[in-house]
Amino acid sequence: MNFETQYINDRQMELNMGPQHPSTHGVLRFIVTTDGELIEKVVPDVGYLHRSIEKIGEKVSYHGFMPYTDRVDYVSAMTANHAYARSIEKMANIEVPKRGHYLRMLADELCRLASHLIAIGTYPMDIGAVTPFVHALREREKINDLLEELCGARLTYNYMRIGGVSFDIPQQFVSKTKVFLQEFAIFLDELDRMLSENTIFIQRVANLAAITTKDAIAYGLVGPNLRATGLHYDLRKDQPYACYNELDFEVPVGKGEQGILGDCYDRFIVRVEEMKQSAKMIRQIIDNLPEGPIIGKAPKTIREKDTSSYASVESSRGELGFFVVANGTANAHRVKIRSGSFAAISMLEKIAQGVFIADLVAIIASLDLVAPEIDR
C-alpha cells in the first residue's frame, strides 16, 4: 500500500494513478508500472466505495432494501431497482400489471439515455475535448427533469416497488417527453457531426485496446462492451422481461468500421446507436401506454422459505442481476449483486498492456466503469 512513486530500476517506474483522479469516474486507484510513456502493467485497486450493500440486504426487509439498490449504480439507478424487484417477484410469485411494466420500461430507457450521455460525454472529456460533455449534460438535465416529475428525485430515484411502480405519470408528462424526444433527435445529429464522424476523435480511439468476443465472454464482459465485440446478445431481446417483446427495436453491435472489431471506437459507437434505439423505444412506450393499475398485490411482509432466485435486467452497463436467498424470515439470507463494471475492470489488466499512459484513460472511459457498481 504505497502511494509514492517507486523507481524500480533505471528503466521502470511504478506510478500511482488515483484514487482521486478526474478520469476514474469515481474513486478508483491504478498502480501503473511504466517504461517511459508505455505501460508495462496496470493493477486496479478497488474498494474505496465499498459500502457492503450485500450485508445491508441481510439486515433489512425485502421492501426496505429497495432504496439501497439505487446506490449500487447511481448513474442508472432505475435499472438496479428493476433487477431487484424482478428477483423478489420471481421468488414470491408476484404479478405486475401491464401498465406497471410499461412505466418500468419507460423509466429504464430514460435512465439508459441519461447513463449513456454521461458515458459518451465524459469519454471525450477524459481525452481532452470538453465541448461534447457540456452538450451531453444539457440533454441529461432534461431527462433528470422528466424523472424528477415522475418520481420526485433526480439521482437516487427509488421509483419501483415490488409488484410495480410507486407513482403514475403526472399530467403532461407524455407531451413533455415528446418535446424532449424531438430535441434529442437534433442532439443526436449534432453528436454525429461533433464526435462520431470527427477525424481527430476517430484517430485517437480507433484500433485501441481491441477485445475479441472470446476474451470478452471468458472475462464475463456484458452489455455494450460485449456487443462492441460483435456478439449479438441483449437480455431485452434474448430473454425478454417486462414487455420488451412488444417493442420494435434493434440491437446495435460493433462492426469495426474505423479499425479493428471491438476497439474503443466500437464501444463508443455502440452506445450512440443504443441511444437512438432507446429514443425509439420511449416513443413506442408513451404511444402505447395501457390503462389499468400500476402496482400489483404484494404482501407487506414477504416470507419465503428454502428458495432462491436470480433475475437480471439489461442495465446501461450490461447484465445487472440480484441473487437472493430466502430463509423463512422477513429478511433475505443472502443478497448477491452481479454487476457489469466488476467484470469490465477485472479485464483491464489484460487489455491495458503496452499502451500509452494517455491511452489508459481512454480505455477506462470506453469501458464505462462506474466505481460504486464495482465495489457495491
Binding site: 500500500m1 457492503s52 465472454i217 432462491s308 436470480y310 443472502r334
Partner: protein, 170 residues
C-alpha cells in the same frame, strides 16, 4: 429446459454423485467437493453444454456450513445452471477455477475477502474490496466488527438528540 432432458441425464452419467434440483425456473446442480472441478470442467468444455460465461460466483453462509454457488450460462447453447457445493465452515479450501473462466480470478478474491474462503492454485489471492490489514470476513454471519481500525473508531454516537414527545408538542 428442464431437469429431465437427455443432456442432463448425460451429465449425471458423467458425474454420478451430482443431484439436480429446479427452483424458480433455474437448474441447480449439487456436487460433492471432490467432483467440483471435474463437473465445472465438463460443463465448460463439453460440446453439449459449452458453458462459456461465468455470471458470478458467491458463497452462502448457512451457519453450520458454506455453500458455494457458480452461476453458468452458455451463449452458444443458451443453457443456464447453478453449480453448488457444500464446504466446511472452518478452514474452507476450494480449488480455483480461474483457468476455466478468467472471470473467476476477481470473484474468488472477493469471496476470499468477504467470507475467508481460500482458493488453492489462485495466482493472486489477496483482499479485493477491504483494506489489506482488515481483521475478519464481514459477510460471515458471526462477524463482529473491530472497535477501531488504524486508530479510528468504527462506531459513531448519534449527535442528533431527538426531542421527547412533550417537547415536540410545546
Amino acid at each position: 429446459m428442464s431437469v429431465a432432458s437427455p443432456i442432463w441425464e448425460m451429465f449425471l452419467q458423467k458425474i454420478d454423485s451430482a443431484t439436480l434440483l429446479e427452483h424458480a425456473s433455474l437448474i441447480y446442480v449439487r456436487v460433492v467437493p471432490k467432483d467440483l472441478l471435474p463437473a465445472l470442467t465438463f460443463l465448460a468444455k463439453d460440446d453439449a453444454f459449452q458453458m462459456d460465461y461465468l455470471k458470478y460466483m458467491t458463497v452462502i453462509d448457512w451457519e453450520d456450513h458454506f455453500e458455494l454457488v457458480y452461476h453458468l450460462y452458455s451463449y452458444r447453447t443458451n443453457l443456464e445452471c447453478c453449480v453448488s457445493v457444500e464446504i466446511a465452515r472452518e478452514n474452507p479450501i476450494v480449488a480455483s477455477c480461474h483457468h476455466i473462466w478468467p472471470a473467476a480470478n476477481w470473484h474468488e478474491r472477493e469471496m476470499y475477502d468477504l467470507f475467508g474462503v481460500t482458493f488453492s492454485n489462485h495466482p493472486n489471492l489477496q483482499r479485493l474490496l477491504l483494506p489489506v490489514d482488515w481483521v475478519g470476513h464481514p459477510l460471515r454471519k458471526d462477524f463482529v466488527e473491530q472497535d477501531h481500525f488504524n486508530g479510528v473508531s468504527t462506531t459513531r454516537n448519534n449527535v442528533v438528540k431527538l426531542p421527547s414527545a412533550r417537547e415536540f408538542e410545546s
